[in-house]
């Protein structure tokens, strides 16, 4: 049974429709990322799951129960905000203790001074103390417990926000771009930490990000959102290797996938690309224009007779372990990016003509509307490779 089930969730703010009917099932213990460009409605969807925002239509189930209209505090979820939303007047210890105090103590037991007169306060506080210490230990911030948020670095604040979320055992964790306020190096480090935390807690994580690399590196599954719709859900490999939509292909992967303008011709609906006839049969009527996606690492250098695409080297980006070639190809608006291993292009100079080839199974074809189109190798032709 799915832990979270969203069916036909819509949301409008005044006249603009931000979510246009989202269906999503999330399994218990899964790490799922909602990824998409900013403004596509990821945070809104997360806030609807949290109960901070009411959907205009559709329903949300958590653990089999419909939670529509149930207050956030009663949904038993924990959230990490992009801004961390730490209580600035409380120490790290007290920040982390808040969720426990809210749940384990009565209103009377939370009043200053008076609280100690109520029976049970002392033992409850002892339990809270132990739990907070445990979390601080787990996140390696025992030394910080008596500081205020203003005295912490960005990374430490982020850790406190995570600590406040994991200190109790909620039914799921909602994280809204928790790393986007950190510097690049720390972000990469925290990716690993959060993924390890997920494995350790074995809890459901719903992780919102606009950074496809974060989604790819941490998730069990990725839901790619565009304009208020989830347009593809799958494992990181699925989404990378088998994009069902041109927008997914372009969003996932860095450097971006190469998109070349091609067309189908003839009775056998072969593909014509940069003046070459590629011997595959496209399941799309002849005469249609086709966007051909080829990942930079699928491009290879070729001898001039085996070339499928040729162009002039405009720029070379040396990344150490690999090198990216920017090749201007006639008739294509953007340069073709080729990713080669370290030293793979040492002899080539800027301005030289180079010839490129690729395997046919590495082509991803999309029609004019951006939908994926099938293709199979034409008969009696040898596969390129």
């Amino acid at each position: 049974m799915a832990m979270f089930e969203l069916t036909g969730v819509r949301k409008s703010f005044e006249r603009t429709e931000v979510l246009k009917g989202v269906d999503l099932d999330i399994a218990d213990g899964e790490f799922i990322s909602l990824v998409g460009p900013s403004g596509c409605g990821k945070s809104t969807l997360l806030r609807i799951i949290a109960g901070l925002e009411d959907q205009t239509d559709g329903s949300v189930r958590i653990g089999g129960d419909v939670v529509d209209g149930i207050r956030p505090a009663d949904r038993n979820l924990a959230m990490v905000f992009q801004s961390y939303a730490l209580y600035p007047h409380l120490t790290v210890f007290n920040n982390i203790a808040v969720p426990l105090r809210m749940r384990r103590l009565s209103a009377l037991q939370r009043l200053p001074l008076v609280r100690w007169l109520v029976p049970g306060t002392r033992s409850a506080e002892c339990g809270i103390h132990a739990d907070v210490e445990k979390v601080a230990e787990l996140l390696g911030m025992r030394d910080l417990l008596h500081r205020k948020p203003a005295q912490l670095s960005g990374g430490q604040r982020q850790r406190v926000a995570v600590g406040r979320a994991i200190v109790r055992e909620p039914r799921g964790f909602l994280l809204d771009e928790p790393l986007s306020n950190l510097d690049a190096k720390l972000r990469v480090h925290m990716r690993t930490e959060i993924a390890q935390l997920h494995r350790r807690l074995a809890a459901t994580f719903i992780y919102v990000t606009h950074d496809q690399a974060e989604a790819m590196t941490m998730s069990d599954r990725i839901a790619v959102m565009m304009d208020g719709n989830i347009i593809q859900i799958g494992s990181p490999d699925d989404v990378y290797d088998d994009p069902q939509d041109l927008r997914v292909a372009e969003f996932i992967g860095s450097p971006k996938i190469n998109i070349l303008e091609g067309a189908t011709v003839g009775e056998d609906r072969a593909l014509v690309l940069a003046g070459h006839r590629i011997p595959i049969s496209v399941s799309e009527q002849a005469g249609r224009s086709i966007s051909v996606g080829i990942r930079p690492e699928a491009m290879r250098l070729a001898s001039s007779e085996g070339a499928l695409v040729s162009g002039r080297l405009a720029h070379k980006e040396n990344l150490g372990a690999e090198v990216l070639l920017h090749v201007d190809v006639d008739g294509q608006s953007a340069p073709v990016i080729v990713r080669l291993d370290h030293g793979g292009a040492r002899s080539i100079r800027i301005g030289e003509m180079i010839d490129l080839t690729f395997a046919m199974e590495d082509l991803r074809l999309f029609d004019k509307a951006g939908r994926r189109v099938g293709a199979k190798a034409a008969q009696k032709e040898l596969a390129y490779g």
């Binding site: 949290a50 901070l52 207050r71 956030p72 505090a73 009663d74 979820l77 924990a78 959230m79 905000f81 801004s83 939303a85 730490l86 209580y87 600035p88 007047h89 409380l90 808040v98 969720p99 809210m102 749940r103 209103a107 939370r110 205020k148 948020p149 203003a150 005295q151 406040r164």
Partner: protein, 317 residues
Amino acid sequence: MADVAIATTLSQETAEPARRGRPRLLAKLRRPLAALTLLLPAMTLMTLLLIGPVVAVLAMSLTDYQLGAPSWSFVGFDNYLELYGDRVFWTSLLNTLVYVAIVVPASMALGLGIALLIESGTSLRAFYRSIFFIPVMATLIAMAISWEYMLHPQFGLINLTLKSLGLPAQAWLTNPELALPTIAAIGVWQLFGFNMVLFLAGLVSIPPHLYEAAVMDGARSAWSRFWLVTWPMLGPVTMFVAIISAIRSFQVFDTVHVLTKGGPSKATEVLLYSMYSEGFEFFRSGHAAAIAVVFLAFVLLLTILKVRVIEKKVHYA
């Protein structure tokens, strides 16, 4: 304007010889000179209107000067000693403190309560903001006169209302036990709108994410969210409002002057009213000046507190 003109010519005159003699020194002095020149008008005004009178009052409090008298002599601390032994002065000081002790918490609680209501409502916010702010802008003398009509023992709106509800009418301003609380109630009415506006500004600056975090952390009731987020986040504003309210209510005078003249039997005698009657009814200017100095000492104390609080802007660092 005249100040500026004089100031510039002065500085030019002093600068001229230096230019010929030691150009380096001039270059060094140019910035401080310019700063002084620019400060001069403000400093002149401050000296004339603020520091001068304060020094004059301080000096006068050490004399037996009487308004209109041709001569006066230095009497040292006699005026203060006299105050120390004067029952009326102590009554007046105590009344002022009681007035402050009623008006400050009441006007703050009312201001905060109404600010919270306005902030949580969705419609007519600007309307409520304006009507609650009207008492702040109205001239208190004029308002005191309308209060006088409302509080009239026989025909006043308040007693008529009480009677129609079957409750006993009260002699609001002539009953010694009720007079000071009544004056204080008018003070609250006059002040809470101002506090409300300050609290509204404070409430708007609380990041909404904190309330969402509180809700996610299990703060179900508005009550618990108030104590977890609103109250602590308003801390600096609250301090500021408390001090400003204290300073303002220390200055109570208009209502007393219009409604009770300090009576009945000194029940509403307050510091500024004592000073006024000493100085302008009995013409004992030296004595009035001593009261003014006591008053200034209190206001100065509160002002120092305020400066301290405002300098500690990084309240939660």
